[in-house]
C-alpha cells in the first residue's frame, strides 16, 4: 500500500494526519464547500492570462498547453527536509567531482568505480572537454534531482538531471499563485520562501564567471526560442535574474570572445546560462545543421573567456546507466556513505540482470538509458501483452540501452478531483545550485502529480500536473 503524505497510510482523508499536515487538515475542515474548486478555476484563469504554458511537440492543435495545477500543497516538515538537503548537497558535490575527474585524470575509471567503456563510449561524453576545465572548475551549476518516496523514511533518487533541468519556473509561479489564492493559510504556516531562488542563481552564476570578467560580469540566458517547450521558463528566468534572454542569432564570436548584438553595438558576454543541449551549441563543433547555436562558441569556451552553465559534457553524469553507479561514485569522491538511496536497479548490460529482467517484465519499469520525459519507457504492470513483447525484443537486441527498476509504491498526496480530495501519486524535483562558494538547495521544489487515479506517470508531457511544495521552518 502506498504511503500518503497527509495520512501516513492509505490515502483516506478525515482521520489520522501527519504533523506537517495538521494545519492544512484543520483549514480544510473549516473551508466552505466549493472553495477549493472556485480557487482552482481562478488559478487556471490566471495561468492562462499570464501565458504560463508549455509547448507540446507534435501537437499542432494546442501547441501551447497549461500544466494542470493542483491547489492542495505538498508539505515537507523541517526535519524531513534537513535530511534531504544534506543528501542532495552530498550527491551534487560528488557529481561535480566525478565530472572533473572524468574529463581530467580519470582516477575513478582507473580504479574501476565505473566501467571506463560506459563513460568513454557514452553518447553524452564530450571528447572536446577531455583535459579541459571550465572556469572555476564548476561543471553542474544547476541540477534538478528527481526524488520519490515510498514510506516515512524512504526517499529515493529516481534520476539526476545535470544538463538543462527545467521546472523551476513552476516552483516559483505555483508559490505565487498559492499566496494569491490562500493568504490566510500562509499566516498559519511557517513556509520557507522559494523566491530567493533567483538571488541564489544569480549569485552562483556570477561566482562562476571567468576571472577576466571582473566584478560585474555580463550574464545571459540562452534559449532555442519561443517554439521550445520550456520557453516560458527561459523568459521567466531571464526576467527574474534581470539579464538578457538571447537566442543564438543574437550572439557572435570574435577574437575568441562572445558578444551580443545590441542597439548600442557589441557587448561582451561572460556567463551563458544555456538552455540548449550540447549538440546544438556550436554548429562548427557539434551538429552542423543547428541553427540554434553560435558558430565558434566552443572556441571561446576553450579559450576560457566565457562560462557555460551547465558545462559541456555534463550529460555523462545523468545518464540512466551511470545513475546505477552513483552510490559507488559518492563513496569514492566523498568518502561517505550515500545519504540518499538509489532505486534498486538492474543494469541490463549485465547478463544475469538481463535474465532477471526478461523473466519479470510484467512487474518492472524498464527505461531507455538516454530517454527522458517519460518517453521510451515500459511500465510493466500498466502495459499490454503486446507492448511487453515489443519491449522484450528491444531489450534482447540492445541490452546496453536499458535499465530496469521495480515498480515503486510512490507516495500519494491529497489532490483535488471533481471537488473531492483523493490520493494521487507524486514525485519531487528540488533544485541544487553549485558555485565556488558551495552547494545550495532552494527550499522547495517542483512536486509533480499524476492526475489520473492510480497512475504513476507524473511527466507534464504525459498529462501530469504540479503542486506547490512547502518546506516548513519548524
Amino acid at each position: 500500500m502506498a504511503f500518503d503524505e497527509m495520512s501516513g497510510g492509505a490515502p483516506v482523508y478525515g482521520g489520522k494526519v501527519r504533523d506537517s499536515y495538521r494545519g492544512l487538515a484543520k483549514w480544510l475542515a473549516d473551508a466552505p464547500e466549493g472553495l477549493l474548486q472556485a480557487r482552482s478555476r481562478q488559478a487556471e484563469l490566471f495561468f492562462r492570462r499570464m501565458g504560463v504554458t508549455f509547448a507540446v511537440y507534435g501537437d499542432a492543435e494546442s501547441s501551447e498547453r497549461l500544466i494542470p495545477f493542483d491547489v492542495v500543497p505538498r508539505i515537507i516538515g523541517a526535519a524531513e527536509w534537513g535530511g534531504l538537503e544534506k543528501g542532495l548537497i552530498q550527491r551534487v558535490s560528488a557529481i561535480n567531482a566525478f565530472l572533473a575527474d572524468v574529463y581530467g585524470k580519470q582516477e575513478c575509471l582507473k580504479a574501476g568505480v565505473v566501467p571506463a567503456e560506459l563513460i568513454l563510449t557514452n553518447p553524452q561524453y564530450a571528447p572536446e572537454m577531455q583535459g579541459r576545465r571550465p572556469p572555476r572548475d564548476i561543471w553542474v551549476q544547476i541540477a534538478g534531482v528527481d526524488l520519490v518516496r515510498t514510506g516515512e523514511d524512504g526517499f529515493y533518487v529516481l534520476e539526476d538531471n545535470c544538463r538543462t533541468p527545467s521546472g523551476v519556473s513552476y516552483m516559483l509561479e505555483n508559490r505565487e499563485m498559492m499566496m494569491r489564492l490562500f493568504p490566510d493559510l500562509f499566516a498559519d504556516y511557517p513556509v520557507r520562501p522559494v523566491e530567493t531562488y533567483a538571488d541564489m542563481l544569480l549569485a552562483s552564476l556570477r561566482a562562476c564567471a571567468p576571472e577576466a570578467a571582473g566584478s560585474d560580469p555580463t550574464i545571459v540566458v540562452l534559449t532555442p526560442g519561443p517554439f521550445n517547450s520550456a520557453y516560458y521558463e527561459h523568459s521567466f528566468l531571464a526576467d527574474k535574474l534581470g539579464v538578457e534572454l538571447v537566442e543564438g542569432r543574437d550572439l557572435f564570436v570574435d577574437d575568441g570572445k562572445v558578444f551580443m548584438r545590441t542597439t548600442e553595438g557589441r557587448q561582451q558576454v561572460d556567463v551563458i546560462y544555456r538552455r540548449i543541449d550540447d549538440a546544438f551549441l556550436d554548429p562548427l563543433t557539434f551538429r552542423p545543421d543547428s541553427a540554434l547555436g553560435v558558430p565558434g562558441l566552443m572556441n571561446a569556451y576553450e579559450e576560457g573567456t566565457v562560462t557555460l552553465a551547465n558545462a559541456v559534457g555534463t550529460g555523462v553524469a545523468d545518464d540512466k546507466a551511470v545513475y546505477t553507479y552513483m552510490p559507488e561514485i559518492i563513496r569514492f569522491f566523498t568518502g561517505e556513505e550515500p545519504i540518499l538511496n538509489n532505486v534498486p536497479t538492474w543494469r541490463c548490460r549485465e547478463p544475469d540482470a538481463l535474465k532477471h529482467v526478461l523473466a519479470n517484465l510484467g512487474d518492472l519499469v524498464v527505461k531507455e538509458v538516454g530517454g527522458s520525459g517519460g518517453y521510451g519507457m515500459l511500465v510493466g504492470p500498466a502495459s499490454t501483452k503486446a507492448e511487453i513483447e515489443s519491449f522484450r525484443k528491444k531489450l534482447i537486441n540492445d541490452p546496453d540501452d536499458f535499465i530496469a527498476q521495480p515498480t515503486l509504491a510512490l507516495s500519494t498526496a491529497p489532490t483535488l478531483d471533481k471537488g473531492e480530495l483523493h490520493g494521487r501519486h507524486v514525485d519531487l524535483r528540488p533544485f541544487v545550485l553549485s558555485s565556488p562558494d558551495g552547494v545550495k538547495v532552494a527550499p522547495g521544489g517542483l512536486t509533480r502529480v499524476a492526475l489520473k487515479p492510480g497512475s504513476l506517470v507524473v511527466n507534464s508531457s504525459q498529462g501530469g500536473g504540479t503542486k506547490d511544495t512547502w518546506v516548513l521552518d519548524v
Binding site: R48, R49, M50, G51, G225, P226, Y232, S235, F236, A238, D239, E244, L245, V246, E247, R249, D250, M260, R261, T262, T263, E264
Partner: protein
C-alpha cells in the same frame, strides 16, 4: 538592449497601432456605406476605398463587397495585416521579448490575443460592430499599460517609436480615403455628401469634438486637413506623430550618447512641417502630398531599422 528585442518591441508597437487603425477604417466605411443618398454601384466604391486606405487596393482581385472586405481586413489568414493577424503578430513579438515587458503590458497583449478566439468572426453587422469596439478597447488597454507601467528607457522608446511611425502612416492613409472616395457626379464639393464624408473621417479618429473646439466652424475640407496634417495639438496629426518620432529618437540618442542618420532624417522632416501651410498643400494636391509623406515615412522606418534594429 538586444537589437532583436528592440526590433520586436518596435513591431509590437506597430501591429497594435495597425489593428486599431483597421478597426477605425472599417467603422468609417460602414458609416460611409450607410449614407442613404448613394446610388447602387456606390457601395462598391466605398468598400474599395477601405481596401485602398489599408494599402491593399487590389488584394481581393475581384469587385469588393462589404462582406469580402470586412472578412479580408478583419480576419483573413491570407492577409498578413488583418486585425486578427496584427494582434497575433504583436503577441508573437511580445512573447519573444517577454522579459522586456511589464506584467501588465504582457497581460494586455496576451489578453487581446486570447480574446480573439472568444470574439470569433461575427458576420452580422451589429456583432461586427461590437468586434470593432472590442479591438479599439484592447488596443487602448495595451497603450495604457505601456504608458502606466513601463520604465522610460530604450524599450519604451522603441515600442512608442513603432507606434508613432505606424500612426503617422495610418493618419495619412485615412486622409487619403477621401481621395479614393470620389464624389459621385452631380454632388457638389462642400455639399451634403462631401460634408458627411469629412465628418465621418473626423469621427473615426475621435476628433470631431476637437475640430469644433479648435476651429469653431462648420466642417470644411481644408480645416479637416489642417487638423490632421499640421495641428500639433491633435495627437494623431502627421505633425504630432512626427514630433513624437523626433522626441523618441532624441531620447534614444541621449541615452546612448550617439546620434545617427535616423535622428537627422527625422529632424529634417520636422522642419518641413514647421514651414508648411495647408493652403499650399491643397494647391499642389492633398493626395500627392500624402503619397510623398508615406514614402518619406517609409524611408525613416528603414533608417531606424538600419541604425538600431539589425
Amino acid at each position: 538592449m538586444l537589437s532583436r528585442t528592440a526590433d520586436s518591441l518596435y513591431w509590437t508597437g506597430r501591429y497594435i497601432e495597425r489593428a486599431d487603425f483597421l478597426a477605425r477604417i472599417l467603422e468609417a466605411t460602414i458609416r460611409l456605406a450607410a449614407i442613404p443618398t448613394r446610388g447602387d454601384g456606390d457601395a462598391e466604391t466605398v468598400w474599395a476605398s477601405a481596401l485602398a486606405s489599408a494599402g491593399a487596393p487590389k488584394a481581393l482581385g475581384r469587385a469588393p463587397t462589404e462582406k469580402s472586405v470586412r472578412e479580408y481586413l478583419a480576419f483573413s489568414p491570407d492577409n498578413a495585416s488583418s486585425i486578427a493577424a496584427c494582434i497575433t503578430r504583436a503577441r508573437t513579438n511580445a512573447r519573444s521579448v517577454r522579459t522586456a515587458l511589464t506584467v501588465e503590458l504582457w497581460e494586455a497583449i496576451n489578453g487581446a490575443w486570447n480574446g480573439l478566439a472568444e470574439q470569433g468572426q461575427p458576420t452580422r453587422r451589429d456583432d461586427f460592430g461590437h468586434f470593432l469596439e472590442w479591438v479599439k478597447t484592447v488596443t487602448l488597454s495595451v497603450e495604457g499599460a505601456a504608458s502606466r507601467t513601463m520604465l522610460r528607457n530604450d524599450g519604451y522608446y522603441f515600442l512608442r517609436l513603432g507606434a508613432a511611425i505606424e500612426r503617422a502612416d495610418n493618419t495619412a492613409r485615412l486622409l487619403d480615403v477621401k481621395y479614393h472616395l470620389l464624389l459621385p457626379e452631380g454632388e457638389r464639393v462642400g455639399g451634403q455628401l462631401d460634408y458627411f464624408q469629412w465628418t465621418t473621417l473626423l469621427r473615426e479618429v475621435s476628433a470631431l469634438t476637437a475640430y469644433r473646439w479648435v476651429y469653431r466652424d462648420s466642417v470644411k475640407p481644408w480645416l479637416v486637413a489642417d487638423l490632421l496634417v499640421l495641428n500639433r495639438q491633435m495627437p494623431r496629426s502627421l505633425a504630432s506623430c512626427q514630433a513624437s518620432i523626433v522626441r523618441y529618437l532624441e531620447k534614444l540618442a541621449n541615452d546612448y550618447g550617439r546620434r545617427g542618420p535616423a535622428q537627422r532624417l527625422a529632424a529634417e522632416r520636422m522642419r518641413a512641417f514647421d514651414s508648411s501651410r495647408i493652403e499650399t498643400i491643397f494647391q499642389s494636391g492633398l493626395h500627392e502630398y500624402i503619397q510623398s509623406f508615406l514614402n518619406e515615412n517609409g524611408r525613416l522606418g528603414q533608417a531606424i531599422h538600419e541604425q538600431y534594429l539589425s
